[in-house]
C-alpha cells in the first residue's frame, strides 16, 4: 500500500505551492495517504466505530485531565479541598470534571462494545494474536486508570472504595500484604496512597496507554482491517473502500454523539463530590463505580479461606482464557452462529456479570438498614454539593493567632499539643485522615457538651480511636476554650 505514491504523481503536485513546500520537508502527503487511504474490505460500517471512538474519548480524557491537574493537589490534606475548589469555584470546573468522570464510564462502555464487536466479528482471527494481546493490555490499563482515578477526589466513596480495592490485593498469596502496602504506600490509606495513585494515574499508566495505542494501531494496520463476518481474515476478497471519507465521517459523527451526550450529562447532572473522607466513619457502606459492582458482588460468595479461589484463581483463569483466545480458537470461521461454543462462553460471562450486578442492586435495596444508610450517604453528598466552598485554613493561620489572644486559649493550645491531640486531629484541629477536624465545633457543641464528650466519648468516637480525656478541671476548661476557639 506504500508504493502508490511512487507509481503516480504525488497528489501534492495538483495542490498549492505552500502544501508542496511543506510536503517536501515533512512528507505529510505520504503520511496522510497512509492514514486516510487504509483499505476497508467491504466498505465503511457503523460497526467499526468503537476503536476510533475509544481513541477520541481517551484524548478527551487527556485534555480534561490536564485541566483538572491545573488546580489539583495530590495530598490527603489538600486533595478534597482542591477538587471542591474546582467544582464550586472555578469557571466551568464542575463541567470539565464531570466530562472527565463520566468519560471514564464512557471509556469502559466503549471498551466493552469494542471487545464485543471484535469478538462477534471474529476479527481476532488470522495472524492477529499480537493485535488481540495488545488490546488486552489496553483493557487492563483502562481499568487501572478507572481504579486509580477514583481515589483522587478523596471523598467518602473514593476513600472507602479504594480501601476495599486495595484490601482485595492482599488476598494474593505470599506477596498479598506486601502488594497492598506497595499500593497504599504503607499499612494504612493516607497521603502516600494519594501521591502513588496520582503518579500512576497521570504519569505511568497514561504513558503505557500511549505506547500500547501506538502498538495496537500499528499491528492493526499491519494485519489490515478484517472486514465483514463472511470475509477471509487473511486475504480479503471483497472490494475495499478507503478509510477516508466515509468511515472517517461515520467515526466523526459517532464521536460527536459521544461528546454531545457527555456534555449534556455534565451540564444537567454534574458529577457529585461527597464530604471529605472520614476514616473514623464506621457506618459508611462503600460501593465501587458501576463497572466494578459485579466483581464486588462476586467477592461476597467467597468467604474466608475460599476467597483466594474467588479473587485470584477464577478471575485469573478467565483472564488467561480471554487473552489466549486467538491461540485457542484457530478456525478461520468468523460467522458468530457457526461458533456456538465461543459465543456461548462470551454471552455466559456477560450474563453472569449482569446477574451479579443486579444481585448487588437488589441486595442493597431489599435490606432496609442498608438502603437507609445508602440513602443517607447520597443525601450527605447532595448536601455537601450545595454548601458553598470553604477555603482550607493554611497552617500557622487563625488558630494559632487566636490562641495567643486569650491566655486560657493559649494554655489550651499547649495542652492540645502536649497530649498529642494534634497527632490525629492535626495542628490547629484542621483534621487528618486519622481523625475529623475540630474547627467550627463551637457552632455545634456548647463548652458543656464538649466537656461531657471529652469525659466520656460517644460510641462513634471510641470506635474511631478517641480516648476519654482525663484532665484537672482547670486544664479541661482551657482545652475546651481552645477547641471552641478553632
Amino acid at each position: 500500500m506504500s508504493t502508490s505514491s511512487q507509481t503516480r504523481p504525488p497528489r501534492a503536485t495538483r495542490r498549492g505551492g505552500l502544501f508542496r513546500w511543506f510536503d517536501r520537508r515533512t512528507g505529510i502527503n505520504a503520511v496522510l495517504h497512509e492514514a486516510l487511504d487504509e483499505p476497508i474490505p467491504g466498505g465503511a460500517r457503523f460497526a467499526y466505530v468503537f476503536g476510533s471512538a475509544l481513541l477520541f474519548i481517551f484524548i478527551s480524557q487527556v485534555i480534561t485531565g490536564v485541566c483538572l491537574a491545573l488546580y489539583y493537589v495530590p495530598s490527603a490534606g489538600d486533595a478534597h479541598t482542591t477538587v471542591a475548589y474546582i467544582v464550586k469555584v472555578v469557571t466551568a470546573g464542575s463541567f470539565l470534571r464531570s466530562i472527565h468522570a463520566y468519560g471514564s464510564s464512557a471509556m469502559v462502555i466503549l471498551l466493552l462494545l469494542h471487545v464485543t464487536q471484535t469478538f462477534l466479528y471474529g476479527s481476532y482471527k488470522g495472524r492477529r494474536e499480537l493485535l488481540w494481546l495488545s488490546g488486552c493490555g489496553l483493557f487492563v490499563l483502562v481499568l487501572c486508570m478507572a481504579f486509580t482515578g477514583y481515589l483522587l477526589p478523596w471523598d467518602e466513596k473514593a476513600y472507602f472504595a479504594t480501601a476495599v480495592g486495595t484490601n482485595i490485593a492482599s488476598e494474593v498469596p505470599v506477596i498479598g500484604s506486601w502488594l497492598k502496602a506497595l499500593m497504599r504506600g504503607g499499612d494504612n490509606m493516607g497521603t502516600l496512597t494519594i501521591s502513588r495513585f496520582f503518579v500512576a494515574h497521570v504519569l505511568v499508566i497514561p504513558a503505557a496507554i500511549f505506547g500500547f495505542i501506538a502498538l495496537h494501531v500499528y499491528l492493526f494496520r499491519k494485519a489490515g482491517s478484517a472486514g465483514p463476518i463472511d470475509e477471509d481474515p487473511y486475504v480479503p476478497a471483497q472490494p475495499p473502500e478507503p478509510f477516508y471519507p466515509k468511515q472517517v465521517i461515520i467515526d466523526a459523527i459517532f464521536a460527536l454523539v459521544i461528546i454531545g451526550v457527555l456534555a449534556l450529562l455534565a451540564k444537567n447532572i454534574p458529577f457529585d463530590l461527597g464530604p471529605k473522607a472520614d476514616p473514623a466513619d464506621t457506618h459508611y457502606i462503600p460501593r465501587p463505580e458501576w463497572y466494578y459492582i459485579p466483581i464486588f458482588e462476586w467477592l461476597k460468595y467467597w468467604p474466608g479461606s475460599l476467597s483466594f479461589i474467588g479473587i485470584v484463581v477464577i478471575p485469573g483463569i478467565l483472564a488467561f482464557l480471554f487473552a489466549s483466545l486467538p491461540f485457542i480458537d484457530r478456525r478461520m470461521e468468523r460467522r458468530p452462529w457457526k461458533r456456538p461454543v465461543a459465543v456461548g462462553c462470551y454471552v455466559f460471562v456477560f450474563l453472569a456479570l449482569f446477574g451479579l450486578g443486579y444481585q448487588s442492586y437488589a441486595g442493597d435495596h431489599s435490606d432496609p438498614a442498608v438502603a437507609k444508610q445508602i440513602a443517607a450517604q447520597e443525601k450527605a453528598m447532595d448536601d455537601y454539593m450545595r454548601q458553598p466552598f470553604q477555603p482550607e485554613l493554611a497552617a500557622g493561620g487563625a488558630a494559632t493567632a487566636t490562641a495567643s489572644a486569650d491566655p486560657l486559649v493559649a494554655k489550651g493550645s499547649q495542652i492540645f499539643r502536649a497530649h498529642a491531640c494534634n497527632a490525629c486531629h492535626g495542628n490547629g484541629g484542621v483534621g487528618t485522615p486519622a481523625a475529623p477536624k475540630l474547627t467550627g465545633l463551637h457552632q455545634k457543641l456548647s463548652p458543656d457538651q464538649l466537656t461531657a464528650l471529652f469525659n466520656s466519648p460517644s460510641a462513634q468516637m471510641t470506635a474511631g480511636g478517641m480516648p476519654p480525656v482525663r484532665l484537672p478541671p482547670d486544664d479541661m476548661k482551657a482545652l475546651v476554650a481552645y477547641v471552641e476557639s478553632l
Partner: protein, 181 residues
C-alpha cells in the same frame, strides 16, 4: 495497496470530491473544536477574570464604641486573606482615631520608618515608635523623628453598625504610601 490503485481512472474525480469534502470536514472539526475549547479556555483563564488572591474586610468592633473618642484606641483585628483554595488568618494591630474633620480613621500600627509597632503614649498625647523615636500626632501626622511619612491610614467603612477595615501593608522608608503584597 490502496483503493486508488484498483481503479486509477477514478482518481481525478474522486480527488476533487474528496478535497471538497476535506474542506467541509475540516470546517466542521474546527467549529466543533472551537465550541469544545470554550469551557477549557474559561477554566484555564479563571484566575484572570476572578480574584483568586484577596484580603477580606476585617471587623474592628461595633462602630458605637468609637462615637466619643478622645484619644486613639488600639484594636486587634483578624485579617483573612484568600490565596486560591487556602485561607490564611493573622492578627494585626490597628489604631482607631479621628481625623481633623472629626471622622473615624484607622491607622496601621506599623511604623513607616522600619516597621516597628508604634505605641500610643497617653501622657504625651501622641504616637511614639519605640525603635527609633519617630513621633506622630493623634491623627497620624508625622511630628518628628526619622520616619519618611506619617502613619498609614487604612481603608475603612461602617457596615451594619460594625467598623470594618481593609488591612494592607505599605512599603517602608519611602515618602509616599505604596501598597505591597
Amino acid at each position: 495497496m490502496s483503493f486508488a490503485e484498483l481503479d486509477p481512472s477514478l482518481q481525478p474525480a474522486l480527488s476533487t470530491r474528496r478535497s471538497y469534502l476535506g474542506w467541509l470536514m475540516g470546517l466542521c472539526v474546527a467549529g466543533v473544536g472551537a465550541a469544545l475549547s470554550v469551557p477549557i479556555i474559561r477554566y484555564s483563564l479563571y484566575p484572570l477574570s476572578a480574584k483568586t488572591t484577596e484580603t477580606k474586610w476585617s471587623d474592628a468592633g461595633p462602630a458605637s464604641d468609637f462615637t466619643s473618642l478622645s484619644a486613639p484606641v488600639q484594636r486587634e483585628i483578624t485579617v483573612e486573606a484568600i490565596d486560591g483554595w487556602t485561607k490564611t488568618a493573622s492578627n494585626k494591630v490597628v489604631y482607631v482615631t479621628k481625623n481633623p474633620a472629626g471622622q473615624l480613621e484607622l491607622l496601621s500600627a506599623v511604623c513607616p520608618h522600619l516597621g516597628c509597632s508604634v505605641q500610643w503614649v497617653d501622657s504625651q498625647h501622641k504616637f511614639a515608635c519605640p525603635c527609633h523615636g519617630a513621633t506622630y500626632s493623634p491623627d497620624g501626622t508625622k511630628l518628628g523623628g526619622p520616619a519618611p511619612r506619617g502613619m498609614d491610614s487604612l481603608e475603612s467603612r461602617v457596615q451594619n453598625g460594625r467598623l470594618m477595615v481593609r488591612y494592607q501593608s505599605f512599603r517602608q522608608l519611602v515618602p509616599t504610601k505604596e501598597v505591597i503584597g
